[in-house]
Amino acid sequence: MEQIISIKPLFAVLASLLVIPVLISSSEKPNIREGWTILAGIIKFSLVVSMLPAVLQGQQLVYTLFTFVPGVAIKFRVDSLGMLFALVASFLWIVTSIYSAGYMRGLKEHAQTRFFSFFALALSATIGVAFSANLLTLYMFYEILSLSTYPLVAHHQDEEARKSGRKYLIYILGTSIGLVLPSMIVCYNLAGTLEFGSQGILAGQASPTVLGILLFMFVFGFAKAAIMPLHAWLPAAMVAPTPVSALLHAVAVVKVGVFSIIRVLTGIFGIELLSALNLGHVIGYIAAITILVGSLIAISQNELKRLLAFSTISQLSYIILGVALLTPKGQLGGIIHIVMHAFGKITLFFCAGAIMVTTGKKYISQMHGLGRQMPVTFLAFFIGSLSVIGLPPTGGFYSKWYLVLGSLQAEQLPLLLVLLASSFLNAVYFLPVVFKGFFAPVYSQGVKPGYSEAPSMCLYPLAITALISVGLFFYPDLFRDLIQLSMG
């Protein structure tokens, strides 16, 4: 793999960071402030896209910032896996910024400048994680993400926000400091480096027991991936404003968690080592438990955002499961699910937020008949659900298909059954929302007469992401190619 030195990754990370002072200074003029946010998003996305041709040709762009000890530096490396994640995250930031503007104004939320500033910081950190060349850089941006999302989660500054914020920090910081940090140092001591290698760096460096314990510490240490039992922060974090939930908890924060785990599995341990130690099965079963239990809990939820949260918990473990199958098709399915789930879930969250802005309703039981008043929103919700369930003609089908093939390839019949059962459960909790929305009689309490669709700044984004979810079914090539490049 040819490596070119390029400063573009650094600029991509900095694009949103540098816009923060501008945002703070234009806090009195919301249009200018939002305009700058969107502009920064477009710049970031363009920078990421500009690196795409080189990556597709098999090259990697690297840039070293500060060398710390030999083998450990703050270093960027844009490879195909990171490019995939960065494309999704940076594109969705643009869409979410437009949506946020509509949402925050619709609800007349306070502290909007703080919101947009920390949002920008969080996105910088996300792209930083995507472009990390080694475990230290990844850890650094992971922590910056945790810190910058706290003010977003606790945005409402009421008692509920305080409790959720606390839970968020305890789970996320506790695991990263308590589990990932020691593991990282042990890793460095064993391997002498922390750079992600194409075959992993730990082969033959320690006994299987030590490697096994290390693996568990990493997998549970990246609690942002919401693997059970460290998932409780995610439903609690739903008290945040919906754009936060949408981008961060359906797309950026949680995807950073699974991305980090994937990097550890492929770049630190390596597929060969994991199969030799039979550790893939163990991770696979842990993921399977989360998949099933997450879906089961989701069925019992009445609050829409909590339902979506548990659905996310479940879907994230699909990604882990895919990679843990240790087969090419499984990996393809798992990693491309990052993309499919991102677009599907963000559509669903956008719809939930649109419903909140227009009608003030949070509970599914109150949303009967709403589909007739907000047809576009509910149609988008339907498309999003299809994608998450994994039915054609949405992108989600593509990833589920490969996951199924992957589990067959790995001869893991129980895991196959888990996948199918979970898809069924997804249908059980998603479809009634849509059907009752369109066909049930209107829930009469608290009805505001004569409302129609969501504000347009909310509507366009969700329509766009829904359309893309469908589009990805027909044109998954770009992402498929990136993944196949990463598998070598």
């Binding site: 910032l65 500060f66 060398t67 710390f68 000890v69 530096a73 703050i74 609800l107 007349k108 939320e109 306070h110 230290l136 850890y139 650094m140 922590e143 910056i144 810190l147 706290y150 003010p151 606790a154 409402h156 500054q157 009421d158 008692e159 926000a161 305080r162 914020g165 606390r166 920090l169 910081l173 506790g174 400091i177 308590g178 940090l181 020691p182 140092i185 042990v186 460095y188 001591n189």
Partner: protein, 499 residues
């Protein structure tokens, strides 16, 4: 003239102190500018000196030209070159940042305070730069006396008693150190550090040398507030005037750590400390207990300043444990942590000083909504807190990295666990504060979060804010450039003393 820098570094603050006391009868308004000038010149000299040491190797300076071991020698190598810079820079920045708070807290006695301040800095610089054991004792006592007096100028009710307790423990510590020096003198006939280091190897099995080592160590530990000899620190620092605790907290204990490292590695030598004595495991255990004790005690505090003082106790545990682990990674971590901890503690206390300038007391209940009232101060506080927890890219992470690596290399899992655990407890400590400051005071019956009263912005004045922001930026810069600092300054020193 450059070869006179070492002496200048001590003489300038002392002369300035003398001139200031003369000015007290003359033009009182010149006292502060004179202090600033003196410390600026000193700070610049330390940097020049450090540059010289990096380029040419250790600098030897003989007071009045008398050759050692009869004369007092000052030997500046990479370790004390670094510590000199730290001391002088922090002293200078603190002086500038404290102008307002000194006016506020010590209205009539500002000149006296500045004189004591200069003497304190002189003593510290002297302790660091000297190469003679008895000279170190003298300058240590100069520092301590200035400290005792400064502390007593604080809270009128509690500070005299706090200072008196400090006097007692400080005297015990210094006297034990003196006793140790006495034993060494009996055995070696010399007071010069380098000289003793060359004579000692033939005396390793002597009980007197062992006694000397123990006394010196215990004395130094009492002065650096290693648990359980830490009891003087929380009260002394909490009730001192703001300007005092801002300079004592980062520097006093760290300079004592420097003395410990000097004694362990340059005077007695690694062979003696780690091979002849089988004490290191036990000391590291003690250090781990110190770390945890400090952290747990900090959890129990309800006042911000007190909480921070217990965190200092915890940090001392890091430093002592790191030095006693006995491998190069751990020692690198310790030396780097001396730099980092001085900066982090300084930044924390700068922020806290700003807060106490504006708020009346620092009890937790009083801190609500502080993020909106003092956003810039809180930004500095957040950076410092995050650095103490050890989150990259702040500097605290990088020294913790080395300490953890060293612990792993030495197979000392107790220390490793203590480090990880205390990072978690520090996270709890600081995020508890952040949470309190982030959330506005609640109005009863208030549920909908969109309309609540916004606290009025009332930041500290610029002369207090700018140093804070500068130091906070420094935390990031030092963190990111850790590699360079380690390569040029710390690693050469460590490879010179560690086998």
């Amino acid at each position: 003239m450059s070869f006179q820098y070492p002496a200048l570094i001590i003489i300038i603050p002392v002369l300035a102190a003398v001139f200031c006391s003369a000015l007290m009868w003359g033009n009182r308004r010149l006292v502060y500018p004179l202090c600033v000038l003196a410390l600026t010149v000193t700070a610049l000299s330390t940097f020049v000196l450090l540059a010289e040491v990096i380029q040419f190797g250790p600098v030897d300076y003989r007071m009045a030209g008398w050759p050692p071991p009869w004369g007092i020698q000052m030997r500046i190598d990479l370790l004390n070159g670094l510590v000199l810079c730290i001391v002088s820079v922090i002293a200078l920045v603190n002086l500038i940042a404290s102008f307002r708070s000194v006016e506020q807290e010590l209205a009539e006695k500002t000149d006296t305070f500045y004189i004591l301040y200069l003497l304190f800095v002189t003593g510290l610089l002297g302790v660091v730069i000297t190469g003679d054991l008895f000279n170190l004792y003298v300058l240590l006592e100069v520092t301590s006396l200035a400290a005792y007096a400064q502390i007593a100028m604080g809270d009128p009710d509690r500070s005299p008693v706090a200072s008196l307790n400090y006097v007692f423990l400080g005297v015990i510590g210094a006297s034990f150190y003196l006793l140790g020096v006495g034993y060494l003198y009996i055995k070696t006939g010399s007071l010069n550090m380098m000289d003793i280091a060359s004579i000692l190897p033939s005396l390793y099995s002597s009980l007197a040398v062992f006694t000397a080592f123990v006394f010196c160590m215990v004395g130094v530990w009492a002065k650096m507030a290693l648990f359980p000899l830490h009891v003087w620190l929380p009260n002394a620092y909490a009730y001192a005037p703001t300007a005092s605790n801002r300079i004592m907290a980062p520097l006093m204990t760290k300079v004592m750590v420097y003395v410990m490292i000097r004694l362990m590695f340059s005077v007695f030598g690694m062979d003696y400390v780690f091979e002849e004595l089988a004490l290191s495991e036990h000391i590291v255990l003690l250090a781990s207990i110190a770390i945890l004790a400090g952290a747990v005690l900090a959890l129990a505090q309800k006042d911000l300043k007190k909480m921070l003082t217990y965190i200092i106790v915890s940090e001392i545990g890091y430093l002592v444990g790191g030095a006693w682990l006995g491998n190069s990674a751990a020692l690198t971590g310790t030396v780097l942590h001396v730099l980092n901890d001085a900066l982090m503690t300084f930044c924390l206390f700068l922020a806290v000083g700003n807060m106490s300038y504006k708020l009346k007391n620092l009890h937790f209940d009083n801190l609500q909504g502080l993020f909106s009232r003092m956003p810039l101060t809180m930004a500095g506080f957040v950076l410092a807190g995050v650095s103490i927890v050890g989150i990259p890219p702040t500097c605290g992470f990088f020294s913790k990295w080395f300490l953890l690596s060293g612990a792993l290399e030495a197979g000392n899992y107790v220390f490793l666990l203590a480090l990880v655990f205390s990072s978690l407890i520090n996270a709890v400590l600081f995020f508890r504060i952040f949470e309190i400051c982030f959330f506005e005071p609640m109005h009863s019956g208030e549920d909908h979060a969109h309309e609540h009263s916004r606290s009025v912005l009332s930041e500290a004045p610029a002369s207090m804010l700018l140093p804070l922001l500068l130091v906070a930026a420094g935390l990031l810069a030092v963190g990111l450039y850790s590699g360079m600092i380690v390569d040029h300054v710390v690693a050469p020193f460590v490879s010179g003393v560690v086998a």
